[in-house]
Assembly symmetry: C2
Homo-oligomer: 327 residues x 2
DNA sequence: CATCCATGTGTAACCGATTACACACGGAAG
DNA sequence: CTTCCGTGTGTAATCGGTTACACATGGATG
């Protein structure tokens, strides 16, 4: 494979000139420019990223750290991130921390070693000191927020209120919220949204906490519904939880949406696949990922102030796990 | 951050000696070894992967190319691959080709540029010339096989026969196979397995082709079942297809497994989440991924012959989308 | 005693880029 | 006619490693 030297020789200029041309830095005459362009074409030259990185100490790579890749929300957002990054010439390395701090650190260290340009971090364990000490651009995505570190997230409280209100508008008389773990910020915010929506209403409400895992959610819903047969509406802290709830309802011999109506949260594509399909609060996953990448690249390129916070508005998708009152 | 020179100086030896120690290549005396170890600890030295790669022309990175990351099979296998690679000190870059040849090529070129150590390729478009011309270690995973290139795959024909036979043993009288696209090798093989299982039996059979997508499968199943109300058993070419079928059955006002029994193929975790949960042929996704990595690393390290083929045996998981005859 | 080989180490070239610095040229300003 | 500055270019150091090669030592072999 051709190197910059070959190009320089072929074009009859020095490597410095070629490098200047490549990076659009410094002066290069029209004449030199043309000769270099021809040589690059003829030799099918492509700059060697590794060599470049050794000088610049930066790779065109961004690290994405997610807590649980088997939760379909994350592959979906990963895809958005990858797509967007690719368009900008960046490669993304996807790392699965399994919610374990040591794994997360290991990945961060390893990738720093490889000179990643920046990180997008979608995990829980916020350790500000650690992140800021990193001295690498990063943006927090979805799960944690901190005023010191740029972030993009969903307006969870409003979204949850939106979903809960819709559920109420469908005529629900006794409502439950099966939330994600309350130490995970968005899960907490969603619970707040639920509370806001039911506040002051003369209606029985329940709140139960679960992990963002299907089986646990099913168990929690099963127990809750067994204990309170009057419940006819459930707001779930995530689509995966909602799907667990569906299954619990089914096991109890009840029907969705006739006996119990369900609203989920996330807008993952899985929601369309289950039966009945899931009414849910769509947090606009693609946009979330896209925004995170753009923000990170701005920071990398020094175009952005360091503590911007973008919050994306969710919207409601009505499907078959609820039924409108008019029907 | 400390460099190899700092370590050499601190330990009172030359950089060559330190490098030899690090790579366990060539002779290093006990005494030097000890001094170097101490210095590395004290300086918290870590070799710079980029610099190393510039000389060796190889990174501790492996590229994984999948055709569709929104198909849950691939995140699951990606996870296995990542886990295994990590243990060996390799990072994996996950790339989504979207079934597009040009995207796949783009990724391969980009990653070659970055000196990946090798590729694991799980896409369709087999272009032997291109791959072999690549001159980078690679193993094909799951979707394509070629005698010239090492591969790991599932014993699809047997697995499909296994699933079909089980369906028959559950008392199915008119059976259909909704397969994946027949130009995708495993999908084709599974259809063959289905045919083998029903061969010579006095039973009505149908075969319909679908993409590996939920919606299309639902549509295909809906049409098939509408046209042939006698069908009481369906073997699906993948779990995603099976889930589409479930939904079609539901839309027709029928019940799984009472009216129609379903067997899927893959063993993705989604199969446990749907209602009713899916009886399926488990292709042992984790093992598939793990094996692919180990094989690739053997090739990279020159420990392996170049055209090994591992075929992994699938097994049946019985859940609620079928009902045993005895019941 | 000469030769050979295994062991151990250091020097310096090299991987393929970036970039600081020196220098040359020509027109404008004083 | 100097002086200065904007353009344009090349030389060589540098990034942090790997490794070919030269060389030293000391015991075994013939």
């Amino acid at each position: 494979m051709a190197t910059i030297k070959d190009v320089a020789k072929h074009a009859g200029v020095s490597v410095a000139t070629v490098s200047r041309y490549l990076n659009k830095k410094g002066y290069v005459s029209e004449e030199a420019k043309n000769k270099i362009e021809v040589s690059i074409k003829q030799l099918d030259y492509r700059p060697n990223d590794i060599a470049r990185s050794l000088s610049t100490k930066r790779m065109q790579t961004i690290g994405l750290i997610v807590p649980d890749i088997t939760n379909p929300f994350f592959p979906e957002i990963a895809r958005a991130i990858e797509d967007t990054a690719l368009l900008e010439g960046y490669t993304v390395v996807l790392c699965n921390s399994d919610e374990q701090v040591h794994k997360e650190r290991h990945y961060i260290e390893t990738l720093k070693q490889k000179y990643v340009a920046g990180f997008i971090i979608a995990t829980n364990q916020l350790e500000r000191e650690y992140y800021t000490g990193l001295n690498v651009p990063l943006v927090l995505l979805d799960r944690i927020t901190d005023s010191q570190i740029p972030s993009v997230s969903s307006r969870n409280k409003n979204g949850a209120a939106l979903g809960t209100e819709y559920l109420l508008s469908c005529g629900v008389k006794e409502i439950a919220c099966i939330s994600g773990p309350q130490d995970v910020v968005p899960a907490f915010e969603r619970t707040q949204g639920f509370l806001k929506a039911v506040e002051g209403l003369d209606i029985k409400t329940h709140i139960v906490e679960s992990q963002f895992h299907f089986k646990e959610a099913e168990k929690a819903a099963f127990e809750l519904l067994s204990a309170h047969p009057g419940i006819d509406g459930i707001f779930a802290g995530s689509d995966i939880i909602a799907i667990g709830v569906q299954r619990a309802v089914h096991r109890l011999g009840l029907s969705v949406p006739n006996d119990i109506q369900i609203v989920g949260y996330d807008g993952i594509s899985l929601g369309e696949m289950v039966t009945p399909s899931l009414t849910t609060v769509d947090q606009n996953i693609y946009q979330l990922g896209e925004t995170a990448v753009k923000m990170l690249l701005n920071i990398i390129k020094g175009k952005s102030v360091d503590n911007e916070h973008v919050i994306i508005d969710p919207s409601l998708i009505v499907r078959d796990s609820t039924k409108e009152k008019s029907k």
